[in-house]
Each structure stands twice: as C-alpha cells, then as structure tokens.
C-alpha cells in the first residue's frame, strides 16, 4: 500500500508540475539531487518526482499544491489522489470511476462494458473510428460521452475529425477490476460449468506484470540519471567504499548495536545481483543472493532496518538505500496472493519485503510453497478452486516477524510446526530488546526527530553505488559495455576461517544435538561474498576476491546466530574472541 501510494504520488507530481516547478519544489525541500543542479532544465522528471515523492507525506503534498501552481489541464484519477482543474484532493477517484461504470452500464447496458474492454485491450486508448469498427452496429459516441462525463475515461486526442479516448493509467486497475467483476457475475450465471476458474488470477498477474514494468522503468531512469550526472562521483566513492566503511557509516548513525541489522539489509541489496561465487579452480554452484529475516519482540527496530532503510521513509526522514525498482513491498499481502503474483516474477530476481511474515502463516499449507520459494524452487499450489503454477521463483525475501524472546532463546509465534524449515533457509537475526538496544533505539529516534542525523548524502552515495554494482553484475544494457561483470572468488582461507568457527562453536555446545543446520554456514559465506561486491571498484582483477573484513562479519554473524539457535548454549563473545585473537 505504501509503495503503491508512493508510485501514485510520483506519477501525480510528474503530471501536475513542469520540470522547472519540480526543481523549485525539490530545492525548497533541500533534496541533494536538486542542490547538485543549476536549474530545472537539468533535472530528469522521473528521478525528480521520485526524490520528492519519497520525502513527503500527504500533508507535504498538500502544501506543495498550495504553494505551487499546478497544471490546470492535468488530470489524475488514482486510488489515493485526485487532480482535476488544478485542484488536488487527498482521496482517490476509484469510487467515482466504479459508480461511473455502473451508471454507464445502467444506461447503455453491456455495450459500455464492451467499449471499456476494447479500450483496455488496445492498451488504454482507442479512437472513435476504431471503436466503431470494433463494435459493429453500435455507435460508441453516446457511451463514450457518458463515460467521460462520469470520469471513467478522458479524451486523449482530438484531431479535426479524429477523436481518441483513454483510460488514465492510474485508473486502469479499477476499470479492470470492475470489468472483471461483471465478467464474474456473468460467468457465475453461465455457471458452474466453468467450475474452478481462478478468480482474479489473470488480473493479479497482469497487474503485477505492469508493476514489474514500472519497476524496470524506475531502475532504468535511476541508472540513466546516475550515468549522466554522477558516474564519476560514484566510481570515486566506490574506490574508497567497502564493508568496513559501510559499517562505520551505520555505526555513526545508529550506534554499536543497532547498526548490524541495517548492515545486513544493505549487504543483502548488494547480494541481490545474485553473482556467481567461484573458487580458484572453477565454479562453486553458489551465488551471492540470500534471504534475510529479522525477528524479535515488537518495537525492536526490525521494520526500520529493512523496510525503512531499503525503501526509505520520508516521515522518519529516512532516505532509501536499496536498489531502485528491485524491491517489492508486500505489506498487507496474504500468502495466497503472494503465491499468485509470484508467477509474474518467474525468471526475474526481486527482493520481497514482508513486514509481518507471521501473517503469511495464518492459513495452513503455506509453509511448503514458501519453503520452495526460499529455495528458489518450482512452486505449484493447488486448492479445490484453482491451480497456481508451476513456476520457478528466483527472488529473495527480507522479512520481519515477531517472536517471544526469553532469557535464553526464543519461540516463534507462528503455529506451523514446519516454520523452522523456513527459518533455516534465511539469514536470521534475533532482536532482543536489551537495555542497551532500548537506549540506542530511543536515542537514534530522537536524533532523527531533531534532524541531528543527516543521512541524505550518505544514503545517496550508497544507493548510487549499490544500484551501479547491481546493474554491472546483472549485465544491465545501460552499463554492460562500460564495466565488466566480475564473479566473486572465495579463497581456501575463507573456508578455513569458517571451519575454525564451526569447531569453536561445536566445542562450545555441550549437548550432542545441534539445533541449526549446515545451511547457516552457507548463509555466512553468501553474506561475505555479497559484502565483497562492495569492493568492485577497489580491484583491477577480473574477479572480486572475498574481502577479509567481510569474512570477519560473516563469522561474527555465524557465531551469534548459532548461539541463538542453540538457545544460547555458548557465549558468542567467547568464541569470537578465541577466533580473532
């Protein structure tokens, strides 16, 4: 919902203001992107609206429309915002559109549905003449006039004898939904012969595919702007940047305890490129992508470290650090819907941010498909009404969920007994609300509130860097001819260190049973390799060697995680001290 609203806000700003106005708005808001430019003629509208949209809320949007003269002729009819005659309403138009469709149906019957369907099939706009040809024997003009009057469609072009209408891009989903509802009523009437038709399946996927296209466009626009204006700076930044500098940046911002979660989140973004990990003699079969789970009691900053750090949160003055256009926020989404929309992502690698992962397990039977999703396997989900898939899921997750934390260990609030299988497939991090953590959270909240923390420039640098690395390592067409793709090379020394950690951990556990699987080691290695991608510009080699500092963090994570999973059978500090002495 948040992401959808952000997208709408971006589109609304783009439609309502010229680039010169956007520049003035952005400059007044003190956004670094605008401060780097001399005038509005130098801004990229997509990037500009994105930068502004991320930094304002509805109140800010209202203020902008009050202070700046928007285009009188611009129209926007979204789910959350409406713009007509230069006036902004902080409420959507979808209800009006639904009513409009119903009124048209009442007056013109199914012909109006046919008209809308033809417009939709044509990609959103259609001319009067074509509609006349489409709907033989029906004069579409009265229907179109009515639909326009009710705000369902708008004139998109008027020539001397040519007339074209469109369904505004932001209104397409609601029109689709309405048409689909009509179709469903009809199919129910026609009945039951068509038993088991997947309700809304097609639309979910279509909608999601549209969203993916939008996200691709967002990444492309971001990269274009980066290459045009900031490339030299990013490369220079990249030459001094690594896991240690990221860690010190985050430590300065959030303190010595809180920083580690954000470090994991950002490192995971580097890993998203899913770069191949090699060793001196060949392939390892591994790659840098992994899923992240932050769990713990409510209020321990889990959402902040994932959602806010990656997507940004204007209200909390937190700019985005994640790869643009590669994170899909899944707040409020059911697991079933997730499994359905997952089809649209087959063959693509995105990061799904799930803030309340617990909710995915409210319904039985979700563990298995999700387990497959975590393993990047082939998903097939069947109910008595529909069959989803099979399709191969190649994306990753950043999830948060609540657990009850005890003095030692924790217990998940998810009832499904197989949930641990899911946990086992992610890089998990327990949040315990210790006094120290509490103080750090309170302090950083206060510093953010009073504007003592200025993340703007740092965030922009990191985001530019991670976006460029992602683009290079995924061989994005905009950069593939400029920078070579490099795999990450793991060394025997790295394996040796992991082995030593394993021995130290096992020697610390007195029980005969080990409560964590070998996958934990795999996660640690993937983490180290993802973190090493930060060194891309530091090395002239054809590969990126594993960074030693990254290995230390990986071992730290391995030991701490093993301790949590073993219900703190050993003190991680003791093991770490022994390893790094």
């Amino acid at each position: 919902m948040i992401e959808e609203k952000l997208d709408e806000r971006k589109e609304l700003l783009k439609r309502a203001f010229s680039r010169v106005d956007l520049f003035e708005i952005g400059t007044k808001l003190g956004i670094p992107y605008f401060e780097e430019r001399q005038s509005g003629w130098e801004v990229d509208e997509t990037k500009a609206t994105q930068e502004i949209a991320y930094r304002i809320d509805d109140e800010g949007l209202r203020e902008i429309f009050e202070s700046y003269h928007s285009r009188e002729w611009a129209v926007f009819r979204g789910r959350h915002y409406t713009l007509e005659n230069g006036r902004l309403q902080l409420e959507g138009s979808w209800k009006t559109i639904q009513e409009g469709i119903r009124k048209a149906v009442k007056r013109h019957g199914r012909k109006s549905i046919e008209v809308l369907q033809k417009i939709l099939e044509a990609g959103g706009s259609r001319s009067l003449e074509t509609l006349r040809l489409d709907l033989k024997g029906i004069d579409p003009l009265p229907i179109l006039t009515d639909l326009e009057k009710h705000g369902v469609i708008a004139t998109s072009y008027k020539g001397s004898k040519y007339w074209e209408w469109q369904i505004l891009e932001e209104s397409i989903p609601i029109v689709q939904l309405e048409l689909d509802l009509k179709k469903r009523v009809k199919s129910r009437r026609m009945m039951l012969t068509a038993k088991g038709i997947a309700r809304g399946k097609v639309n979910y996927i279509l909608e999601e595919k549209e969203r993916i296209k939008k996200k691709d466009r967002e990444l492309d626009a971001y990269l274009r702007d980066l290459l045009a204006h900031r490339l030299e700076r990013v490369v220079r930044f990249g030459k001094t940047f690594n896991i240690a500098s990221l860690s010190s940046y985050l430590r300065d911002l959030f303190g010595p305890l809180l920083y580690f979660d954000s470090l994991l989140s950002i490192t995971q973004q580097y890993g998203l490129a899913d770069v191949e990990i090699i060793h001196e003699r060949g392939k390892t079969g591994k790659s840098t992508g992994w899923s992240l789970a932050l769990f713990g009691e409510p209020g321990t900053g889990k959402s902040f470290s994932t959602r806010d750090m990656i997507l940004g949160r204007p209200k909390a003055k937190m700019p985005a650090h994640g790869v643009p256009g590669r994170n899909r926020y899944c707040g409020g989404m059911t697991a079933a819907r997730f499994i359905r929309i997952g089809q649209a992502y087959a063959g693509r690698t995105f990061n799904f941010i799930v803030p309340e992962f617990n909710d995915f397990f409210k319904y039985r039977g979700m563990v298995e498909p999700l387990k497959l999703a975590m393993e990047q396997g082939e998903i097939k989900y069947e109910t008595h009404r529909e069959v989803i898939g099979p399709y191969r899921f190649e994306s990753f997750f950043s999830v948060n969920y609540n657990v009850s934390v005890y003095g030692r260990g924790y217990s998940v609030t998810v009832q499904d007994p197989n949930f641990s299988a899911i946990e086992d497939r992610m890089l998990c991090r327990l949040h315990r609300l210790t006094k120290e953590r509490f103080i750090e959270i309170a302090q950083s909240q206060m510093r953010l509130t009073f504007g003592e923390i200025d993340i703007g420039k740092g965030a922009q640098n990191i985001r530019d860097h991670v976006a460029l690395i992602y683009a290079i390592e995924t061989r994005h067409p905009l950069v593939k001819d400029r920078f070579p793709h490099k795999p990450v090379m793991i060394t025997p020394k790295a394996y040796e260190l992991i082995k030593r950690a394993r021995e130290a951990i096992l020697s610390g556990i007195s029980e005969k049973v080990v409560r964590f699987s070998a996958r934990l080691e795999d996660r640690a290695i993937r983490f180290a390799c993802a973190a090493s991608l930060m060194d891309y510009f530091n090395s002239d080699l054809e590969y990126i060697p594993v960074n030693e500092e990254a290995l230390k963090y990986a071992v730290q994570f391995y030991v701490e995680e093993a301790s949590v999973r073993s219900r703190e059978a050993f003190e991680p500090e003791d093991v770490l001290k022994k390893l790094f002495q």
């Binding site: 010229s18 001399q38 003629w41 003449e129 072009y157 008027k158 001397s160 040519y162």
Partner: protein, 537 residues
C-alpha cells in the same frame, strides 16, 4: 597555500652567461638611478632615491573544472560578459504540453510562438571585478603555469603584502563568473529541452494525423470495397441491357429494311423484265420490217413508261431503306450513348469516393504540414539561439586558462618600485619583469658604445619581458596609484617595509653585480664607482 613566484629577470635563450641575482640588484639600481630627475634649469632640486623595493603583483588561478580562472589579486582589472536572457521557454513547453491532446490548440500554440525565439528577450552585461579576460595576459599566465609549475612552493605566511583579494575573495569573484557560466549552460539545456518537446509534440501530432489519415482511408476503402461489386454488378446489368436493346433495334431495322429491299428487288426484277421485253420488241421490229412496226413501237413505249415508273418506285424504296438504316443506326447509337452514360455514372460512384478520399487526405496532410513548417522554423530559431549560447560558452571558455589546478594558486609576478624624493615631493616608479639579452654581437656592441647614459645601456641589456603586461597591468597599476590613495598607502607601506637600499645583502649584490656588468662592458669603472659611492657605501 600554493604560491607560484616568477623571476623578475630571465635569460634570453641565446644568452649563455647566467644573469645572477647580483647582476639583477646592480641593474635595477642603475635603472632606478637613471630614472631619477636631476637638477636642471627648470628644476632647482634633483631627486634622490629613498626606497627601492621588490614587490609582487598577485594573480589568483582559481580552479574551474579542467581549466582555471585568473583573478587580479589587486582588484584593479575587470571584465565584462554579455548576458542574453532567454525567451520564456517554460511557457512555450507548457503550452505545447497542454496542446498535446488537441490538434487545434497545437496549431494555435505554434502560430502564437512563431516569433518567440526570434531573438533573446534582453541583453545585459555582467561586470566582474578582478576577473582577467585579456587573452594575452591569460596566455602569459598559462605559460607560467605550464613552464614554471615546478617552482611552486608552499607559503605559509609572509605573503606579498600587496594583496587586496585573499583566496576566499578570489574564489568568490570566480563564483560570479561561474554563475554566468552555469546560467548559460542551463540556458542551453532549456533550449535543447524546448527543441525536444517541440520535436516530440510534432511527432505526436503527425502520428495522430497519420492515424487519422489511415482511418479515413480505411473508411473510404471499406466504402469503396462495398461499392465496387455493386457498381460492377450494375454495369454488367446495364451492358447486358444495352446489348439486348441494340439487338432488338437492329432486328427491327432489319425487318423493316428487309421488306423495303424485297419490294426493291421485285421492282428491279420488273425492270429487267421490261428491258428484256423492249429488247424483244426491238428484235421483232428488225426482222419483220415495216410490218407491225407501229404496234411494236407502242408496246415499246408502254414498256419504257412502265420502266420509268418502276425506276421511280425503286428510288423511293431505296430512300426508304436508307432512312430505315439511318434510323436504325441512330437508335443503336442512342442506346449506346444512354447506357454509356449510365455505366459512366456508376463508375463515377467509386471514382468519386476515391477522389473524396484523396481530397480529404491531402487536406489532412496539408493541415499537419502547415504547423510543421512553422514548427520547423521555430526549431531553426531555437537552434540559432542555441548556437549563440554555445558561442557564449566558447567565449567564456576563452576567459579561462586551459590548466587544471586542484585549488586556488597564487601567482606572483615581481616588479621593483623606486621611491624618489625631491624636497617634499615624492613619486613612485614601477619596473616590470625583464629579459636579459646576450652579451655580444657587433651591432649590440656598437649600440652600447654609442649610448651615452648608463640607463640607456642597461635598457639595451634588459628588455621588457611582456610588453603588453607592462601596458595593461603595470601601467594600469601606476595609474591606479595616483587615483587610489589607499593603494598608494599600501604600496608605500610595502616599500618602506622592504627597502633594499638598506639591506646589506642587496648592497653586496650591487658591489658584485656592478663588477660583473663592468666586465661585460655594460657599465664603466667610473659609473660603477659613482653607484657604489652613492648606494653601497
């Protein structure tokens, strides 16, 4: 802070013997002395040199990307940059965007803006104090930056006391230039954007018009497609009808003609019979002689009369036949003409549609061509402004030096100042940097020999290093000294603080230097003695 200090005197390329510091001290003293006003008829008291100082003229090289800007550290020079403000690009592009959905509005917008980019909205001049824009001075600075960069040093303190703009001031001044530069770049972006938007909109309206044309053609083609078989059918029917009508007309004609011809044939046969009968009568008349002759003559006459009558009747019938033929032909022709007209009319139905289609599509093409021609002219106008703005950027680039500096560098160009005093009157004289020429050559020796005064001989040895720098910087500096009391005060203070006439190292230099100059024949022994007595004792 990085400081680049230049030498006051440099060797001419052909000069082999180095021009030493001692020689510099001796020469400048000789020059300063030669400029001293001696007592004369007009002037009762002669001047004395009270002070001689080596000062530096400061220039700042402030970074500007891969180049640098030169700022006059004494804030004497200035440069003026022409600034042309753009027409209202925003309202132009916004108008176009608004017209994006309506061809009629687009046409009006284009017509409204045919003059918008004809010229810049206004022209003004930005005066940037201390900015050096003089190409020749910039060339000198470039030469210094590229050749003498190795001589840069780190000067922590004790900078030239003559410095009216410090590093921060210099950077500030360069920012005024930078503002103009950026504003021009921004204007270029604006004009490019205007061209892009106009191109896009042109393209959009052309595309829509093409769609409209296509639809129109499709509409007509469908009509034609529907009409063509109907027309063909009708034509076929008409042709068939025509054929049958002609056939019938020909048949009627034939029938009537047949009857006439039959009568004619009968009469012709009658004629032949009558002719034969007459021949018979004539033969009988020949054989019988006079017997029955008159009877036979009567018979012959009767026959002849009957023949005449028959011939008349044949002629009548012939005329009738001719009339029948003509009438028949006429009927056929009328049928043919009538049907041809009907067929043509049918054919015209399709042709008329084709012509309408052609006319309407041409009209639409013309509709888009007119604003397109206007839009192209607007683009040419914008491109012209763009070119001019790019030229401004080139000119501004010309105000910079193609040398990259990491931070602002202070470039110090040395000069000597002598203070002369005659009673209460004091004056200052500036000696800009020089080039020491080679010692020999017959002509030079000759010139040296015929130069009567020491000053004129030293001027043969030391040539101005940069003529234009003397004229445009140091001459201006001397002028400014007279106009600007505070500058005069600053220079006087600097001169007093740094009086070489009181410095022992300078005096030592003069001693050694005059000896060198004497060896080289630039100064005589007595002149040397006089100089030493006066200044180095």
């Amino acid at each position: 802070m990085r400081v680049l200090t230049v030498s006051w005197a440099v060797n001419e390329r052909q000069r082999l013997k180095p021009f030493t510091e001692a020689m510099e001290a001796a020469s400048i003293l000789c020059l300063a002395d030669s400029e001293r006003r001696r007592p004369s008829i007009m002037r009762s008291r002669g001047e004395e040199i009270t002070h001689l100082s080596k000062l530096h003229y400061p220039f700042w090289a402030v970074p500007h990307g891969e180049r640098c800007l030169i700022i006059d550290g004494l804030n004497i020079s200035s440069d003026t940059i022409s600034v042309w403000s753009l027409p209202d690009v925003k309202s132009f592009t916004e108008d176009l965007k608004q017209a994006s959905r309506d061809f009629d509005i687009y046409r009006k917008v284009i017509s409204r803006h045919t003059e918008t980019f004809k010229d810049f909205k206004s022209a003004s001049e930005v005066h940037i104090q201390a900015l050096i824009g003089d190409k020749e001075i910039l060339e000198v600075i470039l030469e210094l930056l590229s050749q003498e960069m190795h001589s840069e040093e780190l000067l922590m303190e004790g900078l030239s006391p003559l410095l009216r703009l410090d590093k921060r001031d210099a950077v500030e001044r360069s920012e005024a230039f930078l503002d103009v530069w950026k504003s021009n770049l921004s204007d270029i972006e604006a004009l490019r954007y205007a061209i892009n938007v106009l191109n896009e909109e042109m393209e959009r309206h052309r595309e829509k018009t093409m769609t409209e044309i296509e639809e129109l053609q499709k509409r007509y083609e469908m009509k034609i497609l529907e009409l063509r078989p109907l027309v063909k059918k009708k034509i076929d029917r008409l042709m068939k009808e025509r054929k049958s009508k002609i056939k019938k007309a020909l048949k009627d004609q034939e029938k009537r003609l047949g009857a006439a011809l039959k009568d004619q044939d009968k009469l012709e046969r009658e004629m032949m019979r009558l002719e034969k009968r007459i021949e018979n009568y004539l033969a009988r008349k020949r054989t019988r002689g006079r017997r029955d002759a008159s009877q036979l003559d009567v018979k012959i006459e009767i026959c002849q009369n009957r023949m005449k009558e028959t011939a008349r009747r044949i002629e009548v019938i012939s005329r009738i036949a001719e009339t029948i033929r003509m009438e028949g032909d006429e009927t056929v022709k009328t049928i043919e003409d009538d049907y041809e007209k009907m067929i043509e009319k049918e054919r015209e139905k399709v042709e008329h549609l084709e012509a309408s289609m052609e006319a309407e599509t041409s009209e639409l093409r013309k509709e888009i061509e007119d604003p397109e021609a206007e839009a192209s002219s607007i683009i040419s106008q914008i491109e012209h402004l763009l070119k001019r703005k790019e030229m401004v950027i080139d000119e501004l680039k010309g105000t910079t030096v193609p040398a990259k500096v990491e931070e602002a560098i202070l470039i110090r160009i040395p000069f000597y100042v002598a203070r002369y005093k005659a009673g209460e009157r004091e004056r200052l004289k500036v000696f800009p940097p020089v080039v020491a020429v080679r010692r020999g050559g017959f002509v030079l020796k000759l010139k040296r020999a015929i130069k009567p005064t020491l000053g004129s001989r030293i001027r043969l040895l030391l040539h101005p290093r940069w003529d234009f720098l003397e004229q445009r910087v140091f001459a201006k500096f001397e002028e400014k000294l007279h106009e600007d009391a505070s500058l005069m005060e600053e220079v006087n203070r600097a001169v007093e603080l740094n009086n070489l006439l009181e410095a022992s190292h300078f005096k030592d230099g003069v001693v050694a230097g005059t000896s060198e100059l004497m060896k080289d024949g630039w100064i005589t022994g007595s002149e040397r003695k006089q100089m030493l007595d006066e200044y180095a004792s």
